[in-house]
């Protein structure tokens, strides 16, 4: 999960850390330590190379530190703001590089998407699902990844993608419908 549920105390504690970092960038280190692994996993989920995932993660934190004064915690959660930066960095990376975009998927996640699409889990459906994922646009794939691979709630997806919770839900189910149609067509 990208964004864990936080207690009131945790939110207050994080706000204190952000406020401190806004005044002195050296105080950003505790935030870096909290979020580094989650940002790295988010980036590496979409790449094959750990080294490149490390470089992009560093870029994400560099951007976050450069812009920390602009972050206003009354808007969206800090984690959602950080993952928006990560998504933009990934987008820049794939625009500049000719590297392949990677989709890393577990069998359980395949089962999850098939079940959610109302399709019975069978071995031959796995390949059809993979083919249909390859055909999705980047935006659609990102929604599927955030929901099914990273298990975010629609509220969290909305916060990351700057859309409403309901819009995130409607869009996700439309994509699932399209996946189902693609699988049924070729089954």
């Amino acid at each position: 999960m990208l964004i864990n549920h936080k207690s009131k105390e945790q939110i207050e504690s994080e706000a204190e850390l952000i406020s401190a970092a806004q005044k002195d960038l050296r105080k950003f280190e505790p935030i870096y330590n909290i979020y580094f692994e989650r940002v790295f996993r988010f980036v590496y989920q979409r790449l094959d190379s750990k080294e490149e995932a490390s470089d992009i993660s560093s870029q994400v934190f560099l951007k976050a530190m450069e812009n920390i004064k602009k972050y206003n915690n009354y808007g969206i959660p800090f984690s959602a703001w950080l993952f928006r930066i990560a998504i933009n960095e990934m987008s820049n990376y794939f625009t500049k590089q000719t590297k392949e975009r990677t989709i890393n998927i577990d069998t359980i996640q395949i089962e999850g998407i098939l079940l959610e699409s109302g399709i019975e889990f069978e071995n031959e459906k796995i390949e059809l699902l993979i083919n249909s994922l390859k055909q999705l646009t980047e935006g659609d794939l990102l929604l599927i990844e955030l929901r099914f691979f990273e298990n975010n709630s629609f509220k969290e997806i909305g916060e990351i993608l700057d859309i409403t919770e309901n819009n995130a839900k409607v869009k996700t189910y439309r994509i699932l419908d399209r996946i189902k149609q693609m699988i049924v067509k070729h089954a």
Binding site: M1, S7, E9, Q10, S13, K23, D24, L25, R26, F28, E29, Y32, N33, F36, E37, F40, R41, Y44, D48, K50, A53, S57, S58, F61, L62, M65, E66, I87, N88, S91, F94, T98, E100, R101, T102, I103, N104, I105, D106, T107, I108, Q109, I110, E111, G112, L115, E116, I126, I130, L133, K134, T137, E138, G139, D140, L141, L142, F148, N151, S153
Partner: protein, 527 residues
């Protein structure tokens, strides 16, 4: 990336190994990032900083006084902030399933057989330090096995997986929690020599997969399909030992006895062939060896003498001193059985060389036998030590009429043979609410159907899939760790026509201090 544009190409990896937190943390470098951030005027030189410094010092002093006077409150608040429900959360802490501690030597192959019959095959050198250094000393294995719902429940290991906020429950055909330690430092598995788990179960369904519990990402990872064997022989230790001893002997440079030269028989005919000495080292010191044919010269042999052969193959036969010589040219072939012999002076020289070579061979043979005896003794004592280390703690049963699922593991942790649990349509859906001694409870309630090897966690207003033909039990743990139950007889009394029901669980007076207390109660239907 968030724009809806089609991408050039995508590569799909299925079940890529998960990167560990330790490895991710090795990429952390905060100093490098802060050095890259655009340099700004140092904070201590800023006007606002200097002007507010005095105010801050006064405020900090006041704050310190307040903190020092309220130490207790601060401590309590910190505690609240760090409180979190553990991912693996044993419901009755004092009855958690304990680890079996087994000491093994890492420099020899080990087979551990657990009470259930499950075996763990640990190849020599398969356990390493976290920094991937070899470990030769004795190490400690900590193992727990969970084969039935009671032990799975007590472990607190989550048997559900979340996909898109939907929870699915796993039915297990055997689960193992395994780790290795040296001086309490956690060790890892050498990926080149994985450990083999042979998990015993009575369920022969091919639907069970191998899963690894990723405690960092907090989910089960699919790890492939285990191979299934019925009545697999799990007592192969003796064969393995013999194989190991043989391997050790083969490491010694093989000794080749020189061949006693034979005089040529003047009544027989012979063939001269140049022998490749590396293929037949027994001829290495002899010159002018001839191959005496083991049959009289016949008519066909005239063809032999007139043919310019393209290929000659010399091979040993099962009879000592007898070789076969196969001559071939295209499809034409002729084969003779021959003995190496010498004529005249060549025999005298060969015999003298043989006497010298044989004397050397006898000395080498003696040394070799002594070395072999040492290797054997060391190996046997290591085996005996190994057996002593774990025989006292492990009951070594022979498995009969059980299914064995085999798969290899490259990580220590919790491994499971699972399948996604699904209810058949014959079950009756009941919207369930729960009470303990007549008072509504919000505690988790656990549902087990004895036909299925799974524990289903239920909450108020959950749907319970009831099978009137099955033996079903519900239990809950009260806040003071007592058990409340709704037994199988009470299930039989649920009216068929109801689609809503409040299950009133009765608290038992029995105290649960050890895992056996709960397992015995469970096995006896909580009577």
């Amino acid at each position: 990336m968030h724009k809806s544009t089609a991408m050039k190409s995508k590569k799909i990896n299925i079940n890529r190994p998960t990167i560990s937190s330790d490895e991710i943390n090795s990429f952390k470098n905060f100093n490098s990032i802060i050095n890259q951030v655009k340099s700004t005027k140092p904070i201590y030189k800023k006007t606002w900083f200097l002007s507010t410094l005095g105010v801050t010092i006064i405020a900090a002093s006041i704050l310190m006084i307040v903190i020092l006077n309220q130490t207790h409150c601060v401590t309590v608040n910190n505690k609240t902030k760090t409180q979190a429900i553990k991912f693996i959360n044993p419901p009755i802490p004092q009855a958690n399933i304990p680890y079996l501690s087994i000491k093994i030597r890492n420099n020899i192959d080990t087979v551990i057989q657990l009470q259930s019959g499950t075996t763990i095959k640990i190849p020599s050198g398969s356990i390493q330090s976290q920094t991937r250094k070899a470990i030769t000393e004795t190490i400690e294995l900590r193992i727990r096995e969970f084969n039935e719902p009671a032990s799975v429940f007590l472990s607190g290991i989550p048997m559900q997986y979340d996909s898109a906020s939907r929870k699915y429950t796993f039915e297990t055909a055997g689960m193992i929690d395994i780790a290795a330690y040296k001086n309490n430092e956690r060790l890892c598995i050498n990926p080149q020599t994985p450990i083999t788990l042979n998990i015993v179960s009575q369920n022969n369904s091919p639907e069970f997969n191998a899963y690894y519990l990723d405690t960092t990402k907090k989910h089960w990872q699919y790890k492939g399909k285990p191979s299934i064997n019925k009545n697999g022989n799990t007592t192969t230790t003796n064969n393995q030992r013999n194989e190991k001893v043989k391997q050790q002997y083969n490491n010694v440079v093989p000794l080749i006895a020189p061949v006693l030269p034979q005089k040529a028989n003047p009544l027989k005919w012979n063939i001269k062939v140049d022998v490749l000495q590396n293929e037949f080292p027994e001829f290495v010191s002899y010159k002018d060896v001839l191959f005496e044919v083991d049959k009289p010269l016949g008519k066909d042999d005239n063809v032999f003498g007139k043919t310019e052969w393209e290929n000659i193959i010399i091979e040993k036969t099962n009879t000592t001193g007898l070789y076969s010589l196969l001559f071939s040219k295209g499809t034409q072939q002729i084969k003779y059985f021959v003995r190496p012999v010498f004529e005249g002076k060549a025999y005298t020289i060969a015999k003298a060389k043989y006497d010298t070579a044989f004397a050397k061979y006898k000395i080498a043979l003696k040394t070799r036998l002594e070395n072999e005896a040492k290797i054997k003794q060391t190996y046997e004592s290591e085996i005996a030590e190994q057996e002593n280390l774990y025989n006292n703690t492990v009951n070594r049963n022979i498995i009969q009429d059980k299914i064995i699922r085999t798969f290899k593991i490259q990580n220590f942790g919790i491994w499971n043979c699972d399948r996604v649990f699904s209810y058949s349509s014959e079950r009756k859906k009941i919207n369930a609410n729960f009470e303990i001694n007549g008072v509504q409870t919000n505690n988790s309630v656990y549902f087990v159907d004895k036909k299925i090897n799974a524990v289903i966690t239920m909450y108020p207003n959950s749907v319970l899939y009831h099978n009137p033909n099955s033996k079903e039990i519900l239990w809950a743990i009260t806040d003071d760790f007592k058990i409340a139950i709704f037994n199988s007889e009470q299930f039989k009394s649920i009216p068929n026509e109801l689609d809503k029901y409040t299950f009133n669980l009765k608290e038992l007076t029995v105290k649960i201090d050890r895992p056996e207390d709960f397992i015995n109660l469970y096995n006896n239907g909580f009577k």
